[in-house]
């Protein structure tokens, strides 16, 4: 019963950011138009359809005037029914063609805007995998996600509305003015003047109300934030008897929200009657002035009938144009955010001459020669680091939280490019090997066990092709998952979803199995066992030992107990490498490592 569907607008994430106003309206639209170049011919057809259907709608009242005149003229003498029939038939044709054109316009705009949103989403998806990792260090996932869904969605919908509506409304507006003045100037002036008067009043009111809408939006954001926080921290609220305080804050915001809420609701509710009033006001004015003119035989009665429709056709586009301008603004705001992402700088291009390395033939000697690296240009974190790791050795990277232990992984995997110096694998600098090729040489198991919604098999095999069932079995056996998987009703085809019954340890084991399937000559374990308790870790460690045989491995660990038998320990602190050596060497040196190591045994 928890299906959170919503079918008006498919939105995710928080809506309280002020995303309706673009920074640069023109530039965003230019980018959008450039992106949609391929659709120009179709767009032009849509515009023509829209304009044409508007014109047909405008001819309608004129024909209706003729028809009414035929009736009034014949009031006493008998009506020319044949002529009435001709006009009626031509009107039917007119309306039908108009409807078809307007439908054609609607369909083409729908197709264009949907295809465009789809292409934009694809562009974003591709971009995600082309961006340097650096980007993700400083941008939140939520933000990118909202660009994929909210923004492309807004863009699609508002684009669909804005262009069609704008053309339609503009054609209607200009057309109805022309038709009115053509039919009768005095009446036209009456209609236009009364409408302008009405709109003047409306604009006056609207301009005074904007602040309530803003206030309401802010209060809504506040209350949602409070609710989210309190619900998410429910156990703390309970444990600390914080319910009363939470409710107090809630009531405070809720009362504020009530004030702004009814005001903005009231004011937005005012729009409809006001629009109605403008319509009616124009209607009365037209009727009275029309009557005067008819009685003085300046116009025929049909003119009044025509104007009664014109006044409707004339007031509508005004509000429509205002609406479509708002739409265009939100289109621009959404486009701006989407293009901002798409236009981010890609990863630096690969070198032109690359050395292809066959993973099967790698021994696994890794050496760091005078490596210098910094996440930003002004701060170097790794300064002239050199080390030689022989094939099959185990390198441990230790240090307190936040010391930059993942930096080494980032460099080895070419997630980041080093400043100067080089890292070589079997003597070949990794900067001469394509990223894809480098990635192929490593199996990697990360601290946060990443699984996706899909079957266990899909999660283990992942992107590797042609993996036999036997090798999946073997991998699961090796990590000790076979029993668990066999106990599941659907075995390997069990879907890992939100509510899958799988523990942190099992998740970790699955990612290790994934790494085993990968079967690459080098191995990276990034705090791979810290989310597993120590007993399960023993299991994992055994699996890992099997994995490390014959592989050069880099292990990042929180627990000093897991690194003692490493061939080389790199001690990191404040982003840089401060010490290196074996466990015994480092202990005897009595430096930071020794301090760190001994601190766990001192009595508290």
């Amino acid at each position: 019963m928890n299906d959170e569907y919503e079918f008006g607008s498919a939105k995710t994430g928080d809506d309280d950011r002020d995303d309706d106003k673009p920074e640069n309206f023109k530039e965003a639209w230019i980018k959008l138009l450039r992106y949609s170049k391929a659709y120009f011919p179709v767009l032009i057809i849509a515009v023509i359809c829209s304009a044409a259907s508007s014109i047909l709608t405008l001819i309608g009242p004129d024909k209706l005037r003729e028809l009414t005149n035929l009736v009034t003229d014949g009031l006493l003498s008998g009506i020319d029914l044949a002529a009435v029939g001709t006009i009626a038939v031509s009107l039917i044709v007119l309306y039908s063609v108009g409807a078809v054109l307007s439908f054609a316009q609607g369909i083409t705009m729908t197709v264009v805007s949907q295809k465009l949103s789809k292409n934009l989403r694809t562009s974003i998806s591709k971009k995600i995998n082309r961006l340097p990792l650096k980007y993700y260090d400083s941008n939140s996932y939520g933000d990118i996600l909202s660009r994929v869904t909210n923004d492309t969605d807004t863009l699609g919908n508002s684009l669909n509305q804005s262009i069609g509506q704008l053309v339609h409304a503009a054609a209607m507006f200009i057309g109805s003015i022309i038709m009115m003045f053509k039919t009768n100037p005095q009446m036209a002036v009456t209609a236009v003047a009364s409408t302008i008067l009405g709109f003047g009043v409306m604009i006056l009111i609207v301009s005074r109300t904007q602040k309530y809408f803003k206030q309401n939006q802010d209060n809504l954001g506040d209350i949602n934030g409070h609710i989210e926080e309190i619900y998410a921290g429910h156990n703390i609220v309970k444990a600390y008897n914080g319910e009363r305080g939470a409710k107090q804050t809630f009531d405070e915001i809720n009362d504020r929200l009530y004030e702004s809420n009814w005001k903005s609701q009231f004011l937005s509710g005012l729009m409809m009657p006001l629009m109605g009033f403008i319509g009616n006001f124009g209607y009365v004015a037209v009727c009275v002035v029309g009557a005067y003119l008819v009685m003085h035989s300046v116009i025929t009665f049909g003119v009044i009938v025509a104007f009664m429709i014109y006044i409707r056709l004339f007031t509508q586009p005004l509000s429509q144009m205002a609406q479509s301008f708002t739409s265009m603004q939100s289109t621009a705001a959404a486009a701006e955010r989407v293009f901002e992402f798409i236009d981010e700088a890609d990863m630096p291009p690969e070198r032109e001459t690359l050395t292809a390395v066959d993973c099967a033939k790698i021994r696994g000697d890794v050496s760091f020669n005078n490596v210098v690296f910094g996440y930003s240009e002004d701060k170097t974190v790794i300064n002239d680091f050199s080390a030689n790791v022989k094939a099959g050795q185990k390198v441990a990277i230790v240090g307190p939280t936040g010391a930059g232990k993942t930096t080494m992984v980032n460099l080895l995997m070419r997630f980041y490019e080093i400043g100067s110096g080089e890292i070589t694998i079997d003597g070949t600098s990794i900067s001469q090997i394509s990223r894809e090729n480098v990635h192929d040489m490593f199996c990697m198991v990360l601290q946060d066990t990443w699984l996706f919604e899909g079957t266990i098999r899909e999660n283990i095999v992942y992107s590797k092709r042609d993996v036999s069932d036997a090798s999946i079995d073997a991998a699961c056996n090796a990590v000790g998952l076979d029993h668990y998987i066999r106990s599941l009703p659907k075995g390997y085809d069990t879907i890992l979803g939100d509510n899958a019954n799988i523990s942190a340890g099992q998740r970790q084991l699955l990612t290790i199995a994934r790494a085993m399937i990968q079967n690459s000559p080098l191995l990276i374990l990034d705090e791979a066992t810290s989310s597993v308790d120590t007993r399960t870790e023993l299991l994992v460690q055994n699996a890992m030992d099997a994995l490390t045989v014959g592989r050069t491995s880099f292990v990042i660990a929180h627990r000093l107990s897991t690194v003692r038998n490493a061939d080389l320990i790199l001690v990191m602190r404040d982003g840089g490498i401060t010490e290196q050596g074996t466990h015994v060497e480092l202990l005897s040196r009595g430096g930071f490592y020794a301090e760190l190591y001994n601190s766990q045994f001192e009595d508290s």
């Binding site: 928890n2 959170e4 079918f7 498919a10 995710t12 009031l75 006493l76 029914l81 309306y95 409807a99 439908f103 609607g106 729908t110 197709v111 295809k115 694809t122 998806s125 591709k126 995600i128 995998n129 993700y136 990118i144 994929v148 699609g156 934030g225 609710i227 926080e229 619900y231 703390i236 609220v237 600390y240 914080g242 319910e243 009531d251 009530y258 009814w262 609701q265 009231f266 009365v284 009727c287 009685m295 307190p400 939280t401 936040g402 995997m413 990635h439 192929d440 490593f442 990360l446 990443w450 996706f452 992107s463 340890g505 120590t534 399960t536 023993l538 460690q541 601190s599 001192e602 508290s604």
Partner: protein, 586 residues
């Protein structure tokens, strides 16, 4: 339903009655307008009429218009206040109800779902109430009244209007059957697309390391295609809407005039002018009827969605928390910080297997009791029974000699200082967070006590380095402090309560060894007399505890001091050996 709408108070119902009356008046006024139009028409068509009469009729029309707007504004005002008041009360009621929930109900609904129910769903319902008061009441009155006025005239015209309404209904049926289900699917498909993208983003390193970018893009394209395909169908169907409606409206106006021409032609000479005036008014009325139908349709389209929201809110409101308050507010004098588990077995509601089986132990005042065991061995569950987030399935847990179920929850929790594994902070200042749950007057020296608590929790350095010290702002969810800092503030919060029992649910593994050690030694020094219950993973954290409970698969595998367990408990030794080498453990 009733659970939700009982939040419409008596005053609101009175206001709704006023709305009703006002809307009647408004409909009457709106329908009067075409009558005056008819008057003018007759005046114009009758030779020898005076212009003054036209002006009078015009003035009357204008008055009608103004009065109609005035009633609209009044209705808008009332309905806005009723709707906003209703949503305020409903939101407040829902929030208070959720506050009473235990972990079990929260887990049953999921936090995310409860948040949507308290925010979006209520907004939906409010919108319906606001629109409802204006449109749901108005549209039928208008439709029926206008129809009555019309039906007195020529049946041919009435039939035509009937046909137009029929066409509209046809369109709606088509929409309901074809488009609505696809409309609902949009959210599911969007969620799916979102999920795939989120997976790619959260696993970006894995995706790159496994060269799986093409694989991920493939998954994305499938989701993207499904969404686009569905959207295309929905919005293409929507594209029919406007052209269809305009052809119905235009067709109807034309039809009225066309039929009118024949009727007038056939009528006796004396009736012709009246009939002509009727024709003009009829086209106005019919437009009103059609418009009211349109409005009703809009409501019908909205209704299913709102009903889902109403049901979802009602679901929360009718769920009663499983844990009931006892009535003990004071424990016996002289007893403090004692915990006793007697044959406690526990399984989560709805689960098949026990998480804890026959656990028996006790802790005396000032003792440190540590709990260790592998993942899923029931460590956190055991703590949840002390805090009474859950009730035992069998056996009893007592604090200070009284069963926890006999206390009021407030009294029980006042004895406890609980620190969860994942630190949670709230929006406010550092001080607000540390003194969370206390009213202003409970401590005589709030700032002094806050400082002391923070200093015990090893947080003085970083708090005083913040721009406003203890008054520094913590943002929602504590995102502006680091994980370790969050954890230390969360520990300070527990210490500030000066509880009888401190409960640490794997709190220390987020801290590095040095902070962990410093914190524990200060705690020991400063909080003697407080019983501590510590769940831990590191042997180093707990080796000097007064009592260590070793849990294995929910059963107590051993109990005793470190040195005893090293000799007697196989499970404990295994855990210890996996962390430290043998000679270090002696």
């Amino acid at each position: 339903m009733t659970a939700v709408f009982k939040y419409l108070k008596a005053g609101a119902w009175a206001a709704i009655c006023v709305c009703f009356a006002l809307i009647f008046a408004q409909v009457w006024l709106d329908l009067k307008l075409p009558d005056y139009m008819a008057e003018i028409t007759t005046l114009v068509q009758t030779p020898g009429s005076v212009m003054r009469d036209v002006w009078i009729a015009g003035a009357k029309m204008l008055v009608c218009c103004l009065a109609s707007v005035a009633t609209s504004v009044a209705v808008g005002f009332i309905s806005a206040r009723v709707a906003a008041g209703f949503s305020r009360d409903l939101r407040g009621g829902l929030f208070a109800h959720v506050e009473n929930f235990t972990m079990e109900e929260i887990g049953g609904f999921s936090t995310a779902s409860l948040i949507t129910r308290t925010t979006n769903d209520i907004t939906q319902v409010q919108m319906l109430v606001a629109m409802g008061l204006q449109i749901i009441i108005r549209a039928p009155i208008m439709a029926v009244w206008a129809m009555l006025k019309i039906s007195a005239k020529q049946w041919e015209w009435t039939a035509l209007v009937g046909a137009a309404i029929g066409a509209m209904i046809l369109l709606i049926v088509f929409m309901m059957i074809y488009a609505l289900p696809k409309f609902r699917k949009i959210q599911t498909l969007t969620d799916n697309l979102n999920r795939v993208t989120r997976e790619n983003l959260t696993g970006i390193r894995v995706v790159r390391a496994y060269n799986a970018d093409k694989y991920e893009e493939g998954k994305f394209e499938t989701a993207n295609h499904e969404l686009t395909d569905n959207n295309l169908k929905v919005f293409s169907a929507m594209a029919v809407f406007m052209p269809f409606i305009s052809i119905v409206i235009n067709g109807m106006s034309l039809g009225i005039y066309w039929i009118g021409a024949y009727l007038i032609d056939a009528a006796p000479i004396t009736d012709k002018i009246t009939l002509f005036a009727d024709m003009i008014t009829f086209s106005s009325y019919s437009m009103q009827v059609l418009m009211s139908f349109m409005m009703l349709v809009m409501i019908f389209v909205m209704l299913p969605r709102v009903m889902v929201s109403v049901r979802r809110i009602a679901e929360v409101l009718t769920t009663e928390p499983r844990i009931r308050d006892g009535n003990v507010t004071e424990s016996p004098a002289g007893v403090s910080g004692e915990i006793e588990f007697k044959n406690v077995s526990f399984k989560y509601p709805g689960a098949e297997d026990y998480v804890l089986r026959e656990v028996t132990f006790s802790a005396k005042r000032g003792e440190t009791v540590a709990i260790i065991g592998s993942t899923g061995s029931g460590k956190s569950s055991l703590l949840n029974l002390v805090t009474r987030f859950y009730d035992t399935t069998e056996g009893s847990v007592s604090v200070d000699g009284i069963d926890v179920r006999d206390y009021t929850q407030e009294a029980l929790r006042n004895k406890l200082g609980y620190v969860p594994q994942r630190a949670i902070l709230f929006k406010g200042t550092v001080t607000d967070n540390v003194k969370f749950g206390f009213s202003a007057s409970s401590h005589s020296d709030v700032l002094g006590d806050v400082k002391k608590a923070v200093s015990i929790a090893q947080g003085t350095d970083f708090v005083e380095a913040m721009s406003d010290g203890y008054e520094s702002a913590i943002s929602q969810g504590g995102t502006n402090v680091s994980g370790g800092q969050k954890q230390r503030l969360s520990i300070a919060r527990a210490i500030y309560r000066n509880p009888e029992i401190l409960i640490f649910d794997d709190t220390f593994s987020a801290l590095d060894y040095k902070t962990d050690r410093a914190l524990r030694s200060t705690l020991k020094r400063e909080t003697s007399g407080i019983t501590s219950l510590i769940v831990a993973q590191r042997i180093g954290t707990i080796r000097d505890a007064d009592k260590i409970l070793v849990l294995d698969g929910g059963r107590l595998a051993g109990i005793g001091k470190h040195s005893e367990l090293m000799n007697s408990c196989e499970v404990y030794r295994e855990i210890a050996l996996s962390q430290l080498s043998e000679e270090e453990l002696v």
